[in-house]
């Protein structure tokens, strides 16, 4: 039970016009200037246009892909034939994509994490750290086809003959999963370094000090405290790098040979394959597109669709990983 007591109205002459809230002011509605309106409309348009492009890619590839994807193309080896119905499936490129991605990230992840740890936790002498940083930026900005040509030059040297074919006369072929994987790791490296570094920088100083205060040295702190805390950052960087590797064509065409099938160098089970040539989904799409040798657009659509699925799955993985990351400590 409550009563409402009305206060007497304020005595004295009211000063000025009655109060109106700002939002009720009719002038408020027109307070938006034309320029602002155009800006907002343009922002809306850009956002919607981006959604439209993304949707168009997905829907188009979905329609084209589903038409031509079936169990046969996923499980059959490619055959050399001008007739699309007889050119087989793309099992070898799928395996090739998988092998190359795993190989590339297996090199890039430990090296990248090592660089990031050195940059954030040591970084001395400072000029050297700056040089490393610009090195990473240069690598990140280099087109992959330049890296591919450079890789071919390097890996054709006799020194690296163990990584690929050696021809009769002693010339080193320079093309294999090993050499392509090595250059692929270079394009994934900046992404791993960047994400790991960001995660390490997000750990407050007092967490490191808490470990030192227990009598631990820097190495133990990095291994048992910092790297576990940066796990999700490392995972994000590795997934981004894998996406880049799976989507790259230039290095595959130049350094992997883009052969129709996986060509093992010798009979040693896995090592022989890694020293041999092969292809990936990207080079398969390229070769089977109307501009390639194969000219089998149906197969190209199907392979492109599978590749798109792989990359989208990787992006979902990144989302899942970074959603688990939350600010654990206050600075």
């Amino acid at each position: 039970m409550s009563t409402v007591a009305e206060l007497p109205p304020p005595s004295g002459p009211p000063a000025g016009p009655p109060a109106t809230a700002f939002a009720e002011d009719p002038a408020f509605e027109t307070a938006w200037r034309t320029r602002d309106r155009i800006g907002v409309a343009a922002s809306w348009f850009c956002g919607l246009a981006l959604i439209a492009v993304a949707a168009a890619i997905l829907i188009y590839m979905l329609i084209q892909g589903i038409k031509f994807v079936n169990l046969d193309v996923l499980t059959e080896h490619p055959k050399s034939s001008l007739d699309q119905s007889k050119s087989g499936g793309f099992l070898d490129p799928i395996i090739g994509t998988f092998m190359l991605t795993v190989l590339g990230i297996a090199i890039a992840a430990p090296v990248g994490v090592g660089i990031a740890v050195w940059l954030t936790e040591y970084g001395r002498p400072a000029p050297l750290a700056r040089a490393v940083e610009s090195g990473i930026e240069i690598v990140a900005g280099t087109p992959s086809i330049v890296l591919a040509i450079f890789g071919l030059l390097v890996f054709s040297q006799g020194l690296f003959s163990a990584l690929s074919f050696t021809a009769e006369g002693g010339a080193v072929f320079g093309r294999s999963f090993f050499t392509a994987g090595a250059m692929m790791s270079v394009i994934a490296l900046p992404l791993v370094v960047g994400a790991t570094r960001e995660a390490l920088l997000a750990i407050p100083v007092h967490v490191r000090e808490a470990s030192y205060a227990l009598g631990k040295d820097k190495a133990a702190t990095i291994r048992r405290v910092l790297l576990p805390a940066a796990r999700s950052g490392i995972g994000t960087g590795a997934s981004l790098g894998m996406g880049r590797i799976a989507g790259d064509t230039a290095i595959v065409v130049i350094l992997l040979g883009a052969s129709l099938r996986l060509e093992a160098e010798n009979d040693v089970p896995i090592l022989g394959n890694l020293r041999g040539t092969g292809s990936t989904l990207t080079s398969y799409v390229y070769n089977n597109s109307p501009v390639g040798e194969g000219n089998a657009p149906e197969k190209a659509y199907a392979a492109a669709f599978v590749l798109l699925l792989v990359v989208i799955a990787l992006n979902f993985a990144i989302d899942l990983i970074s959603r688990r990351r939350k600010t654990a400590w206050t600075t």
Partner: protein, 295 residues
């Protein structure tokens, strides 16, 4: 806009109006300080640590100026003073954590049980002089591994869980956290509440059996209830380890401190029993600070 009249105020009168809340006269720990709340520890004065003429500078800036102070077993030493007075720097020098800062310069001696801390192995020193920070900072691992981390060698995972279980349980019991976490030792430490995390950090320091425990404003990130729990814990622990606590909160210094050191602009202005520093301060600066004139 100054010609607008405020809208008329309507006051709702309830049948049983609650008494208006009167804010306490002393806010933020500054103000007239009440009588000593707890019995001061018996002065058996077994000295654990002492500094002799300790000066610390960051670059050109002198942060601690010729401070000589002793830390005794069985007592809580509270370091008080306004921000930037050097109390945290003094605290961090006791376990040589300031060595991490590249620009720091130091003179004077720090003694642990009569040995010069500079000649002790830093690992040994830091195991004997534990530290708890302002922000709770458990490591991103399980509750058990947080405690076991300090007990293990360097970065290794040995000795294993079986061997360490009794010592981990003992540390958690001493920090008053055992009952709350005993069924969840494998759970991630970062899921605990803020107060629990801070007690875990205390347990982590206690696990290696330190002689001195340094607390750097351990309650400033916590709510009043967690603060009370931790203050109680400090009073219980003072019989086992010598405790040095840095605090901005004068009432906290009053509640837990046996001896109080007041610092101002790097100088140790006053150092004595809590009752004396708060009740009958000798220096004018101290008198002004404990009465809330500045801070």
């Amino acid at each position: 806009m100054d010609d607008l009249t405020p809208p008329p105020v309507r006051r709702i009168i309830l049948d049983n109006m609650p008494e208006p809340v009167v804010p306490p006269a002393a806010t933020n720990g500054h103000g007239p300080v009440p009588e000593v709340v707890h019995e001061p520890a018996a002065r058996n004065a077994v000295e654990r640590m002492r500094t002799e003429d300790l000066s610390i500078a960051y670059g050109q800036k002198l942060a601690v100026n010729r401070v000589s102070i002793e830390v005794c077993a069985g007592e809580v030493l509270a370091l008080i003073g306004p921000s930037g007075c050097g109390k945290t720097t003094l605290l961090r020098s006791l376990n040589r954590l300031i060595d991490q800062t590249p620009t720091v310069a130091r003179s004077g001696r720090i003694l642990l049980d009569g040995d010069d801390a500079d000649f002790l192995d830093v690992t040994l020193l830091r195991r004997k002089v534990g530290m708890v920070f302002q922000q709770p900072n458990p490591f991103p691992m399980s509750i058990f591994d947080n405690i076991a981390y300090g007990l293990r060698e360097r970065g290794s995972k040995r000795p294993g869980r079986k061997e360490l279980e009794p010592r981990v349980a003992e540390a958690l019991q001493r920090a008053g956290l055992w009952e709350e976490v005993k069924d969840n030792l494998s759970g991630p430490a970062l899921r605990l509440s803020g107060g629990q995390q801070q007690r875990l950090c205390i347990a982590r320091s206690l696990a290696v059996n330190p002689e001195v425990l340094l607390l750097d404003e351990p309650c400033s990130a916590l709510d009043p209830i967690s603060t009370a729990v931790i203050e109680e814990l400090i009073l219980r622990l003072r019989t086992q380890v010598a405790i040095v606590i840095v605090t901005h909160n004068l009432q906290q210094a009053q509640r837990v401190g046996d001896r109080v050191a007041f610092m101002y602009l790097g100088d140790l202005v006053e150092y004595g029993a809590a009752a004396q520093v708060f009740g009958a301060p000798q220096a004018m600066r101290t008198r002004e600070y404990v009465s809330g004139a500045f801070g």
